[in-house]
Amino acid sequence: MADGTNVPVGGLAAASPKGRKTAMQKFAQRRSTTGFLLCLPLILLVACFVVYPAFYAIYLSMLNKKMTAFVGLGNFQFLLKRHTFQLVIFQSCLFAITAVVLKALLGFTLAHLMHNIPGKNQKIWRGLLLVPWVIPLALSTLTWWWMFDPSYSAFNWVLNQFGFANVPWLGVGWIARFCTIAVNVWYGTPFFMIMYLAALKSVPEQLYEASAIDGANAVQKLFFVTLPMMRNIISITVLFSLITTFADFDIVRILTAGGPQDMTHVFATYAFQVGIQSGDIPLGAADSLFMFPILAFAAFFVLRGVTKRTKEIAA
């Protein structure tokens, strides 16, 4: 593109008295330069809002509480020894893994059901099931919080109608953990469903016909055709969801604020509590940095698998 216009423009500029401008123009017209310039806004954006904060967080995490002295890895050592932080690691993993597994299973089931609803109805159901995903999470979590309220809320009212006692939804450790996970699953399942539905639609019908003739029943078709064909989408969706779920803040913050007795804290809410609310910013930074190696590890393996399979399958 730039090459085509190079000659006439350059020729014009050469005729003008300013030789320096010609050099500038030639520079600007080089393809790679153009490409770089076009990407520059994004690069700047990423640098400002991702790279800089990341390095700043690393720097911060190595200071003492008053941010006056360099303590090396002291904050990390301190965190690891602390019982609450050990709970946070356990809970973050529990929260992310359980929620992602449930979302994946539910999303897969829903996608299958959806796939078998004929024509127009499918669109309506798909639209309805996407609702949780498009409501701002903070708002919907607030609604859930009301529904979990121990004395005046929907769930306990229903339980009472059937003669059961009130359940202190957000007041007891394991129940509260379950509630935060449930809300996350409610919110995140539509994303899985829509991704899986797209993947299901892209599996050629003839593969099912061929496998039917080869002698496969419904379950065998699922395991030998559908799942292998969807493996890439499943991996990428799971990875993506793992990252966002691991870093979840809104749900835990609004539902339980980490309680009761810190039994629902995850990395992000704990970092907020330690860093912002208690004013120990370096410790908060150190806390949130713990997420990085865990996610990087997961991303590496998932993406490696995806690349390998894409090469094999893409025809």
């Binding site: 593969l207 080869d214 002698g215 029943n217 055709v225 399958i313 025809a315």
Partner: protein
Amino acid sequence: MAEVSVRKVVKEYEGGVQAVKGIDLDIADHEFVVLVGPSGCGKSTTLRMIAGLEEITSGEIWIGGDVVNDVPPRDRDIAMVFQNYALYPHMSVFDNMAFGLKLRKFPKDEIKRRVDDAARILDIVPLLDRKPRALSGGQRQRVAMGRAIVRNPKVFLFDEPLSNLDAKLRVQMRTEIKKVHQAIPTTTVYVTHDQIEAMTLADRVVVMNGGVIEQVGTPQQLYHNPATRFVAGFIGSPAMNFLPCRVQDGANGGLAVRITDSIIVPIPPARADRYGAYKGKEMVLGIRPEHLFEHHDQGKPGWTRVDLPVDVVEPMGMETMVHFFVDGSPVCARIDPATHAAPGEMLPLTADLNQMHLMLPDTGRVV
């Protein structure tokens, strides 16, 4: 191995489209039957109903002495080769071929033996470890056939297996398929819209049109004795010439066909009985290009000279195609390349009327 019967089978798709309108077909054990016809005539639908991939609206399908209307594809003991192969992209060639046997719980060494045998027959032994992506179209085609062969099923079903290949490879694979059938004579139903493929492969050809069977017969029968104008026009390349005409009295008490005022040809005496009843009626004369050739001084009985104005000459090497217009209808003749023919000139031709066909203009039935 088994015979297949299709009895009064109708297929109506949702929305009332009748793709197959009540067909009857009996296929003998070991027979190679080709369904041929223009696009949309219901060939694939018929094949898919035999496979069990498509429900039957009414009628019965028998495989090996059992009605299989309600038997799912996996229990019909059939194998199918699809137009775009439908290989499993995530499995190696070996696994693609072994899949059906694995599902049927064959022992490992038996699977290996069968896949190796099939791979040897199809000449794809070096490809067994590859994924389908790394194969050419012809190789994929062989793998798809291998997948069918290893199962040793009662019936092979092919749905336009060669139409994604280039012309040269198509001819080569056609021979290959014939060889495989000679080596493993399984009952085969083969769908194609290519009449040459049909003629070369089939024991019997089934010509379909608009959801009904026009004619069933050996390639020779279809070529020499087409039952309808459709079959006459569909089988043979270039296609048969059709000319509106009238049957009338001819010289010496015989019959003649009047095409135009200047072109009146005598009907061979052997056909007189057959055509007598149509005297005075408007009919359609059908004659193949190969039965319209350069004029010979010594004729044979049934040969007649006609002179036509040349429109286009197409030399093909071993023969020359000459096109004419007779009273608005296109006519093609196949002449010796040594014969002189030039556009605008009159060309003396011989019509071999022993090979003529007369059909009714409304129903197209050959009389």
